[in-house]
């Protein structure tokens, strides 16, 4: 596939798009792990959702 004189522009576009998407996915995945770990730590330390049922419903 020959992309002519502007190969670098096209490649940069695709790479940048890939990079941004990967960063987004990575951020969301890592964030998920962090929150999960924190929840687990909190629950291990004896704070259960039930003890504060009302407080934990997203308010």
């Amino acid at each position: 596939m020959d992309l002519g004189p502007y190969t670098s522009f096209i490649a940069t576009s695709y790479l940048a798009a890939a990079l941004v998407v990967v960063l987004l996915i990575g951020w969301i995945a890592i964030d998920y792990r962090i929150q999960k770990a924190r929840l687990r730590a909190l629950e291990e330390s004896g704070i259960s959702r039930r003890s504060g049922r009302a407080a934990t419903d997203l308010q």
Binding site: D2, T7, F9, I10, L24, W27, I28, D31, I47
Partner: protein, 258 residues
């Protein structure tokens, strides 16, 4: 599964866990197909191979506006119906929308250099996208400025809605502003009469990016719900052990009243 059920964050988490793998799969398939099709697409007689940038540029440009629309609807949900998931949806969408806008700007500039000979032109459409980007960033700054998510949500909702009114205004006024000083020095591709060989890959890519957005959005909403759960558990923890704080102080009792 009714809307009421979805309003329950726990239900949402369960649903998200079931849906996410499928959403991700559809996204991957669509994007792979789109990439393959766009690689196969012929060169444009005028623009040469650079037309390939279109296949990312246009979906991202569309999504940049679409996401603000999603956030506006969510904001109505926050302000009018006080739906418990609405502000989660709005907050989770902002960084994703900002990323798409950034990509639209970036790929547009990279396309502009070979086409117009400059990375940037103060043209109506370009400028209004740039402002959209700034508004995304401002909104994210607002979310960051307030520690309590429910209070932040209402402020952000007002701003989102006002921004939604403002965007078309900017779009039109910028048109005006441009022609006032000098004729549009911007040439651009015909646009509407797009050949099938470009249209199909473009549409596949657009649908693929839309699914990417949905997938990421659901995942980000899940994170946000967990984050709030962590926050309220931390607050409980702050109270739980405090030396001699009276147990059961959370419930009100009446002594000797009425």
């Amino acid at each position: 599964m009714s809307l009421i059920d979805l309003a329950n964050p726990t239900r949402f988490l369960a649903l998200a866990a079931r849906l996410l793998p499928w959403l991700a799969l559809v996204t991957v398939v669509l994007l792979a197909a789109g990439l393959y099709l766009s690689a196969q697409a012929p060169d444009d007689y005028q623009q040469g191979a650079t037309v390939k940038i279109m296949f990312i540029h246009v979906p991202n440009a569309w999504l940049s506006m679409f996401v603000w629309g999603v956030m506006s609807i969510a904001s109505l949900g926050t302000l009018v119906w006080r739906h418990p998931l609405a502000d989660v949806a709005a907050k989770a969408a902002a960084p994703i929308g900002a990323s798409f806008t950034f990509l639209a700007l970036l790929t547009g500039s990279l396309w502009g250099r070979p086409m117009w000979g400059t990375y940037w032109e103060w043209d109506a459409r370009l400028t209004s996208v740039l402002i959209l980007f700034l508004m995304y960033l401002g909104l994210m700054a607002l979310w960051r400025a307030v520690e309590d998510p429910t209070r932040a949500a209402r402020a952000a909702a007002v701003l989102t809605l006002v921004g939604a009114i403002n965007l078309p205004i900017i779009k039109f006024s910028v048109d005006w502003w441009n022609t006032l000083h000098q004729p549009a020095s911007v040439m651009r591709m015909g646009g509407t009469a797009l050949d099938k060989s470009f249209l199909i890959p473009l549409l596949v890519m657009a649908v693929g990016f839309s699914f990417l957005f949905i997938t990421l959005h659901v995942a980000a909403m899940r994170n946000e719900i967990l984050r709030r759960r962590v926050r309220s558990l931390q607050m409980l923890q702050a109270r739980a052990y405090s030396g001699s704080a009276p147990a059961g102080s959370a419930t009100g009792q009446i002594a000797g009243a009425a």
